[in-house]
Structures are given as C-alpha cells and as structure tokens.
Point group: C2
Chain length 353, copies 2
Amino acid sequence: MGIPDRPKRTSARRPVSIQDIAEAAGVSHSTVSRALHNSDLIRPEVRLRVQQLAQKMGYIPNAVAQSLKGQRTHTVGLVISSIADPFAGRVVRGIEEIAQANRISLLLSVSYNDPERELEIIETFQRRRVDGVISATAQMRGAYVQRLTQIKMPTVMINQQADSEADRLLSVDADDYAGARLAVEHLLSLGHRRIGYLGVGNRWQSNRRRFAGYCDTLSGAGVAVNAQWVRVAPILNNPRSDDVVDGQALLPALLGSDVTAVFCYNDLIAVGALMACRELGIVVPEQMSVVGYDDVDIARYVTPSLTTVHQPKLRLGELAMQMLLDLLEGQAVHNTSLANELVVRASTGPPPL
Amino acid sequence: MGIPDRPKRTSARRPVSIQDIAEAAGVSHSTVSRALHNSDLIRPEVRLRVQQLAQKMGYIPNAVAQSLKGQRTHTVGLVISSIADPFAGRVVRGIEEIAQANRISLLLSVSYNDPERELEIIETFQRRRVDGVISATAQMRGAYVQRLTQIKMPTVMINQQADSEADRLLSVDADDYAGARLAVEHLLSLGHRRIGYLGVGNRWQSNRRRFAGYCDTLSGAGVAVNAQWVRVAPILNNPRSDDVVDGQALLPALLGSDVTAVFCYNDLIAVGALMACRELGIVVPEQMSVVGYDDVDIARYVTPSLTTVHQPKLRLGELAMQMLLDLLEGQAVHNTSLANELVVRASTGPPPL
DNA sequence: CACCGCTTTGCACACGTGTGCACCATCGTG
DNA sequence: CACGATGGTGCACACGTGTGCAAAGCGGTG
C-alpha cells in the first residue's frame, strides 16, 4: 500500500530548508534548528555533523520565515524627499553604514515631497512590518506626522526640530536657526548691512527657521529687514523642482533693491545665484557676497568656492540610525541637536564702497 | 470547567490579523482572506461586511506572511558602489520610480567596491529571498559575478558590458567605448593632436573601455599615443576615494608632456583637473581643453562649464528595473545598449597656437 | 421523496523557522 | 534491582496568510 509520497520538494528547485537537512541527517527539523544556533542542548557530534551538512548543502536561512516567527524583520524603512539632493546622499550614507554594521537592511523610498506618496510609503512600511522608520524628508505635513505617531511605529526624524508640542517624535537635527545666524553674522562682520535672502517655498518649515534666524540677526544688529530683500521660489505643481534653476531665476529680482550680499536657503540656490551673477556681469564677491547652506560637495567646486554653513550630514545619519537601534532595544533615548559650522570660502568679502 | 482560554492576543498589542477579523465577524479566517481578495466565492453581503470590518479595525495585511506563503517577496535588492556618486544617484532614481509604480520595494546596499562586502550583500539578499537583484556597481570582480550566476538569482547589471563570454548575465548599458570616441573625436575636430587621459584605477573595467576608445580614436587619426599623456589614479587601501581630489592631483603630472587637451574618466576627475588648472594659472579652454564623462549635474555648474559625454542615467535605471520585472514574469528579455551623446560646453576650444 | 447541482463556507494543510514541553535512554546510587 | 536525575531528541504548536477539497445548505426536478 502506497505511502502518499510527499511532494518531494526537489521539483521546483526551492532553496534548501532545515527540513531538507533534517531528512538528510536523519534527525528532526528541531534538532537542525538548534544545532545551527549552537545550542548546547544538542550533542556536540550531532551539532557538528548537522552544521557541516548544512554547509555542504548550501543552506541559507530564510529570513522571511524567521521574521514571521520572530516578529522582527531587522529592516528599517527610509524615507527621503529626493535622491538627487546631495544633502540626502550624505545622510543616507551615514545611516547605511550603521545599519550594515548592525545587520539591518534598509528599505528605500523616495517621496518627492508628494503627500499622497508619503502616505503610501508609510502603509508599505506597515505592510512589510519594518522594525522602525527613519524619515529624512524636507517636508513634514500634518497627515504624515499624525499617521506616523498614531500607529506607534518607532520613528526617528532628521532635521525636523519641532516648534512646540510635537516633541513626541524623536529627532536628530542640526539647528537651522543657529546656522542661519552664523551665516548672517559673518556677513555683518564683513561690513554688510543690506543683506538679501533667497528661500524656497516647498520646504517651508526649514525655510521658515532659517529665515527667522536671518531676520532676528539683522534686527539684533539694528537693521530693519526690507521686504524687497527677500525672495522665495514659488511652489510648482511639479514636485520635482530644481533649486539651482530657482536660485538663478530669483537673484535678478533682488537687483532693484540695493543689497550687497545674499544668504541662500541652501547651496544649490546659492549656485544658481552665482550663475545669475556671472550672466549679469556682477563680480562675486567684489560686488556681491553669496552664502549658502549645507556644505554639499559642489560648494567646494564652483567658482568662486562657496562660503556656507556646514551641516554634519554623515553624523546626522549615523546618530539617527543609532538612536533607532537603541530605541528598538528598549533603551531610553533623547533628542539630539548637533552644531553647524560656518565655512568661509571665496564667495564672501567686504561690501563695495 | 475552564476552557483553556487562548492567549487572547490583545496582550502584546500586535497588529490585527485576519484571524482577529474572523472572530469579530463570526466566520473562519479563510472566508476573511477570500473576502478581502474580492473572491466571488464569498456571498456579496458577507464580503462587504468583512471588508468594512477590516477597514474599521485598521487591518493591514502582513507582507511577511504573504511572502512566505506566496514565495514572492516583491522586493528587489539594489547594489551600488557609492551613495555619494552623483551618477549612481540618477540611476537609482530611475530604478526607484519604476519599482514604486509596480509596487516593488527596494533593499538598498552600498558596496564601496569592497569585495568582502559585495559577497555579504549577496548573501543578505539570498537570506531575505529577494525576487531579483540590480547591480550598479562600478566594479565587478570575478567572485561576485560567479556567485551571482551560480545561485541563479535573476539579476540585471547596469553598465557592465561584458567583453566576451559573460553574456550569460543580463545588462543595460551605455557604450563606454563609443562614448570615449565621441569625446576624443570632438577634441580632434577642434584641432588638438596631443591629448591626455586621466583615468581611475579602482574601476578598471569601465576605465579600460574608455581608455580603449581614447587610444583607438587617436590611432585612427594617425596620432601615436604617448605614455606620458596617460595618468591613472592609484588604488588606495581606503576604498572611499574622492575622484575630484584624484583628478586634482593627477593633472600636474601631465604638464611635463605637451598636451593641449585632456579627456577624463568622469566629470569628477575633470572637475579636479579644472581646479588644478586654476591653481597653476592655466586658463581653460584657451590653454587647455578638458572633457569629462557622465554629465552629472555638477558639470553644468563649474566654471567653465564642462564639455562632457552625457549618459542617459535615468533611462538606464528605468530600463534595468523594467527588464527585471519582465524577467520575473517569464518574458524573454534581451540586453539593451543605449547611446551616449556629446554635450559641448565651455571647457573645450581650439588648441593654443 | 430522492437525487442532483449549485452556492457558500470551513477544515486542513502548506510556507520555513523557533521553542516549550514531554518523552526516552542512560547513568549513578541506595 | 529499583528509582531518580540528567542529558538529548522529537512532537506539536505558533507566527499570518492562501487555497484545494470536502461538506453543508438549498433549490429544482423527475
């Protein structure tokens, strides 16, 4: 009488499982599982034999099954606004290094600052049961934050310093307000009084903080901010905008006023400003000083090289990932704020006479 | 007599499962599963009731369990050499857009051209049972390729055009050899005869192809290549090298020879060359023409703006991802090769008299 | 009324791994 | 020899989902 011969998994050429090893070794799958984990419940000779057999059969544990059983995926979801942004690139590198060192895999998602996409991404992370989320999006909308806190998913934000009550969510950041002050103080110390600001409209939270630092520093020095000195790139329907193009388009609008220096939201805006100056025959820094923000690689390579506020991007990423790991281990973690540094290069100088 | 009350999963605040919904609706979990998939096996009113209940209870399917059961993770592993590389950034963007549109998640890994890390990454992908792999590493070592083909994991390479037999592995690429010819032909047409080459040592395969294009084009024009014209950055122990620094360090070595133009392995090397020229007081392009490769964003922003060979980076990524999707659906796919285009900007001109 | 066919549901297993508990063999000791 | 202690192994279940098959309910027809 025929034993109902089991499917004989060799058909679909599946990867070997502990069950396969168990049959080959003449033991149960439990024994194999324990042996592979070096459990001292298993007799040393059996343990060794199973391990060698697993090696020979090319066994590779199925992380999916382990995740299901262990309720831990060892996966972290990563949301960024844009891949093209060199700022994000450095931050991701820091995150990735710490993650890899701790055998954590990263699920990469790009939001393009699109609210609908942000919600989709969160749901995907929920479906995949990531252990936690790191969000390095420039923009944080209400629905996004609300959803994230509501579902109680361990989350660390990068550069999302909250204004007031939202300190419920953890974050690592470099102080935008203080950074902006550094930049403007530098220009003031060079003798500039009439200083412009070129901002962005689609990242209004960090833009607002940097703008506030700009305003307060000027006011503190007894300079009344002139509305003519401030220009902000409009929010396009197209969420994929180009900061350099925006900076280039924005700068000429300042010429009507009499600014001798301009502080830009970030380095890309500043690069656009530099290009506009070149086109208009304005010599930097002799006729106009330009300051950027972030200190991305490109700031060193343009001509003149860009004076800018250096953000510790790598460190931000590393700290965020480490904080998330601590959080997952149940340790107490506290928000961290890093200091920015002013980097003086060739795009700033004394104002023209 | 007490029914051995089941664990009552409400304790550990796990996400709701179809089992929870089943109990709440008074049906079996099978019915719930089918209802949520809109199976017409389930009576319409039951189907609707279950769906509404799932909605209300905030059910989010467990992709881990689905992957285990369905033997498909809807996940693709992505290997790149470096996050900092702006070339990789654009390619990843193309990949990510197609992936997101097809509800595929990306597992990001950075290899830093470290052989050991590359093998670790592959094993991680195997453990996690990714459906396929896209490899955009600049460097492809034997062990890496061998391992990848050996385990028969669906894989698409980017810019890894094989020399001879290795056409077993699928790839999408833009022809390095032809691109280099474009660049050198441009310089020849401007009147240059003595043309240098600045290369890299740690990406020898693409470097070799571009160098071959350089050599053949010169030879074809009757110019004998002079060994003094060629410099290649040494391979450092530190796998995190900086192309700009290398280019900057390499250019002065060419001054002993009498080159009037230099073709660089990529834009970053070229930017380094531009910076070296500035330091040495060499005016570009009047005294020296410089050509880059890749056409990354920065090429437009440096001064003078860089003449370069444009690679369709976004398209490379999109095609690679689409090819992998087709492959996973069992469709026949064929290797694709895209054309590069020369972009003439301000860093090239006629040779000095 | 008996039988057939259709619709709707549940049972049971599978995916691959980890682990509490029971069981068995062996050994030591009174 | 009997009994308890100890060490090694397997059974059975759990994780959450999907699905083939059986079964139940029900209406129609000869």
